[in-house]
């Protein structure tokens, strides 16, 4: 199982990540790395809920209240987004 697979996993932003808000997007950079990434509006919404307290299930629940998407699609989309951000080292996951 990968980090971020379990609905009980609690993602938090990696220390030191620089955030630059753009219209409908967010630019992220982890100091010391050569990587910068941009998040679109939906990935940004996931990111903003990754506060080290909410689980993936709680994040999906919060997004389901906010967005008009099929409820069944949101948990999978959240898991995919978190896994990608963990891979890019801007998120960490406590199991």
């Amino acid at each position: 199982m990968n980090e971020g697979d379990s609905e009980h996993a609690v993602p938090r932003r990696a220390a030191g990540v620089i955030e630059c808000a753009l219209p409908d997007e967010l630019l992220l950079h982890l100091p010391g790395s050569a990587v910068a990434i941009t998040l679109n509006a939906s990935a940004r919404a996931v990111w903003e809920l990754c506060d080290g307290r909410r689980s993936l299930a709680a994040i999906a629940g919060a997004l389901a209240e906010r967005f008009d998407a099929a409820a069944g699609e949101i948990p999978g989309a959240v898991r995919d987004a978190v896994q990608e951000l963990v891979r890019l080292k801007v998120l960490e996951v406590a199991p």
Partner: protein, 273 residues
């Protein structure tokens, strides 16, 4: 042996390129035609931040000097490329407070275009085309931006365009192509720092219709960072600046196969700004 010198100036600084070979001095003068200044009179003049030297060898030439870790040898064209690189590197390092970007730039009236693009994407061809139709030339290779106000200081290397067969080429084939200078009248060269108003990412694609495609600020910011020549020096500051610039000015991708069509498209305005 008489050793001649060419002084290359930028933003109140100078680099000296010395050589006993007249052909080398002629090439260096040509490469930096709009940046060459007279030598100091009586020891006065802007500070000299580096000295390069080019000597003849048995089968070519050799470049040594400040910022050249090991002698670089080759034929005249290769030596010219090395001198152009080391002079630019010196100014990038000396004016490290700027956000230096691998880009061309031109301005006309109230518009100033920053034209980033990877090697072989048509920056020089496009900016030379713009200069032929009334735009003022700032650079075809490196643009130093003041992060406080988005002003680009002219870095007017002599534009060079690749001489090739046309058609799609991979990066290696592009790098192997020869280059020729594009002579510009001095009056075409912009001498004043100019605030960038639009960013146009350049993408030459043979046999395509010229088209402008709007970019999101996020896409533009990433593109600016990819083209930044001194990201290591700035780190987080460069990230914030790229985001700020992308928020402030419109950005588009220009795909073109014909430079005339591309210039006409840009003349019509490229964005909401």
């Amino acid at each position: 042996v008489t050793v001649g010198v060419v002084w290359v100036a930028f933003d109140g600084l100078r680099v000296a390129v010395r050589s006993p070979a007249r052909e080398v001095l002629a090439e260096v003068r040509q490469a930096f035609r709009a940046m060459v200044v007279d030598g100091p009179q009586g020891g006065e003049g802007p500070p000299v931040v580096a000295e390069l030297r080019v000597d003849r060898t048995a089968d070519g030439y050799e470049v040594t000097g400040d910022g050249v870790p090991a002698p670089e040898r080759g034929p005249l064209a290769e030596v010219r490329r090395a001198v152009r690189f080391h002079v630019t590197r010196t100014f990038v390092e000396t004016r490290a407070e700027r956000f230096w970007i691998h880009a061309a730039a031109a301005h006309r009236g109230g518009r100033a275009l920053l034209l980033p693009g990877q090697r072989g994407r048509g920056k020089s061809t496009l900016v030379a085309g713009l200069a032929r139709t009334g735009w003022r030339y700032l650079s075809d290779e490196a643009v130093p931006l003041d992060m406080a106000d988005d002003h680009a200081t002219p870095y007017p290397l002599t534009p060079q365009i690749r001489v090739g067969p046309g058609g799609a080429l991979d990066a290696e084939a592009v790098a192997a192509l020869g280059k020729r200078d594009v002579p510009l009248k001095r009056s075409v060269v912009c001498r004043a720092a100019t605030r960038i108003t639009e960013v146009v990412f350049v993408h030459y694609a043979p046999a395509t219709t010229a088209v402008l495609t709007p970019m999101t600020p996020g896409e533009a910011a990433l593109g600016l960072l990819e083209s930044c020549l001194n990201f290591r020096e700035h780190g987080a500051r460069a990230i914030r600046y790229a985001a700020d610039l992308a928020r402030r000015v419109p950005a588009v991708t220009l795909t073109f196969g014909d430079v005339g069509a591309a210039v006409r498209l840009l003349d019509g305005g490229s964005g909401p700004g």
